[in-house]
Symmetry: D2
Subunit: 208 residues, 4 copies
Amino acid sequence: MRQWKNILIPYEQAIGELKVKFKAIRAEYRKRNEYSPIEFVTGRVKRVSSIIEKAKKYGIDEKNIEQEIEDIAGIRIMCQFEDDIYRVLELIKARDGKDLTIVYEKDYINNQKDSGYRSYHVIIRYPVQTAYGEKNILAEIQIRTLAMNFWATIEHSVNYKYKNDIPENIKLRLKKSAEAAHRLDEEMLKIRDEVINAQKLFELKSNT
Amino acid sequence: MRQWKNILIPYEQAIGELKVKFKAIRAEYRKRNEYSPIEFVTGRVKRVSSIIEKAKKYGIDEKNIEQEIEDIAGIRIMCQFEDDIYRVLELIKARDGKDLTIVYEKDYINNQKDSGYRSYHVIIRYPVQTAYGEKNILAEIQIRTLAMNFWATIEHSVNYKYKNDIPENIKLRLKKSAEAAHRLDEEMLKIRDEVINAQKLFELKSNT
Amino acid sequence: MRQWKNILIPYEQAIGELKVKFKAIRAEYRKRNEYSPIEFVTGRVKRVSSIIEKAKKYGIDEKNIEQEIEDIAGIRIMCQFEDDIYRVLELIKARDGKDLTIVYEKDYINNQKDSGYRSYHVIIRYPVQTAYGEKNILAEIQIRTLAMNFWATIEHSVNYKYKNDIPENIKLRLKKSAEAAHRLDEEMLKIRDEVINAQKLFELKSNT
Amino acid sequence: MRQWKNILIPYEQAIGELKVKFKAIRAEYRKRNEYSPIEFVTGRVKRVSSIIEKAKKYGIDEKNIEQEIEDIAGIRIMCQFEDDIYRVLELIKARDGKDLTIVYEKDYINNQKDSGYRSYHVIIRYPVQTAYGEKNILAEIQIRTLAMNFWATIEHSVNYKYKNDIPENIKLRLKKSAEAAHRLDEEMLKIRDEVINAQKLFELKSNT
């Protein structure tokens, strides 16, 4: 445990830096009076007990944990509309090779999980300057709408309560609520389009 | 404007204190390993331009603004489930006459607005100790689920863009998305009940 | 330990609230473009190990700890000049009987400790609204200049290293540095007076 | 003004990132139960009015301001002891060419200003990823003890009041207080050495 406390120090530092960096993007758009595709940002370092549990579950040797568990450091970016997810993705790609390196992506928006889970994941490599030199760590960025996040939070609590062995009837309930969350995102997206279309119409009129 | 900057100082202070107080409730439940009915808390002081606009709209004389505009200081408490809203309400009522006084309540959960808006509002009076003595101010606490909050945020942007004169077809779209948000809350509530029922069943079995 | 974790919850809440309240005073003066007697504010809850150690040292029975150890919750207010300490004291007295109650005061400015320690202490009773009702706790407010705080921080580290059994030669060194800190405060106070006098002279001239 | 608001956005972002990074060093030492040479960190972006004033004073053309005014973004690192300043300097040099580049250094510790001012300055170039691409900005890091900082804060207020035209008698007072601050640092440094020597003696004894 003691040893893990030290191993996790650069991960905590990375989360601190990445939260500040993504929150700054939102602040930047706001200061320019522009629409921000980022609504809010959270971050956390996985608890030691959860790391060890995950390693056991997937048969990962303790010495490989830092290479094979990619979400020890986790950043979550919440968007108002599904379209915004792809704008955030572009912002991350634009800094690839600069202050971070993209390792790979997982698109659970177009390929939602059986459970109903939807989100876009980007695994990155991020260099941290510690008091003992540079360390490169892996981090997972999850990009999702507010509705996707709401559902995922509930599913996480349910999973935790049933220790990943959710009864079939509750699984069904979760799927139904995932569909309700999805419908909400679809309805919202239609408003976004209408609002933007209405604005374009207005500008067209003004220019003639 | 200059004068307003000074008038708003105790309101900013009240928001700072109330945010810390309601966030502490969440922290308390977490530290006790208990379920918190509060998911997160935000707060803001209304901008001077919005205060003046509202006063004009409702024909409020400038000298009565602090008595008649009740949401100059606004606190928003977000819950995971609709049931939690009433638990938060009980927590507020328990401190009535202590560090705050309840003025009145508006139940937009059972009486949703025509627009589709749902939330529970509590207007309170809150004493602030300033460098120049005590000042009693009014504040509005809005209690809502994450889905209600998501919808209200979008509606607010749309209202802002159309300056409260939303076209009929967009009003309809907003109503449809309000219904989708409501359905999501209903689905979520069913899971909450099932999870709690399952737990009770488990405890019954364990005790026999 | 587990039990202590719960006992300390309202103390942590009190510290959160009191920090926000005293920082707000500073913010208020700044917004009014006035000089703030408060430079910065810190706060902490005593660690369980330190509480138990202190109880043993003074022969305090465990069930009396909350009544007899007055600094479980500690707030520290730092001032630029010695004069400011008394202005902060007036601000605290002005809210006595409102959101806090003064229990008693300890003036280590005019009666400095043998070690060289100088600060003004105010013991207060503060009501906290928890999820399980109101609880009245004791808290200690320490008011000091930046130089007093600098010295006290160093003395604390030295005490910690020598477990309160500081060798005589180091005690002497500490006293000499306490004198240097005191001289710095005296020099600074003279500048404050000169600056204020110069301003008064200027105003006198302007008005004739 | 409007334009300046946008120019300053990456500077504000840089300050946010650099504060998190240097605070993380302190947190790292603390988590490892080691002494941290960093006591606390502050940061600020120069106000537009001060930038323009400085440009006028030094005859800097508006289009060269970002290249020639090096302290638009300013980070301040406070240490307990003078020795710590050089340890912080080593930490900054260790990341030169990684997340920042050192441009040059100004040693006002060994070459104190006539006014009495003492501090170690490092001018760096720092890359910021904005929503519109990468931007390299200049920033000034000031490293100083708590006593140096205390004095510098007072001198800044005095300068501000007298608009950089301080009367001779007050200049003298400031110099005397700078000496008092310097003596305090010297006394403190002696304690640090004694504490460390005492510890070494203890370890020597233990190992024989």
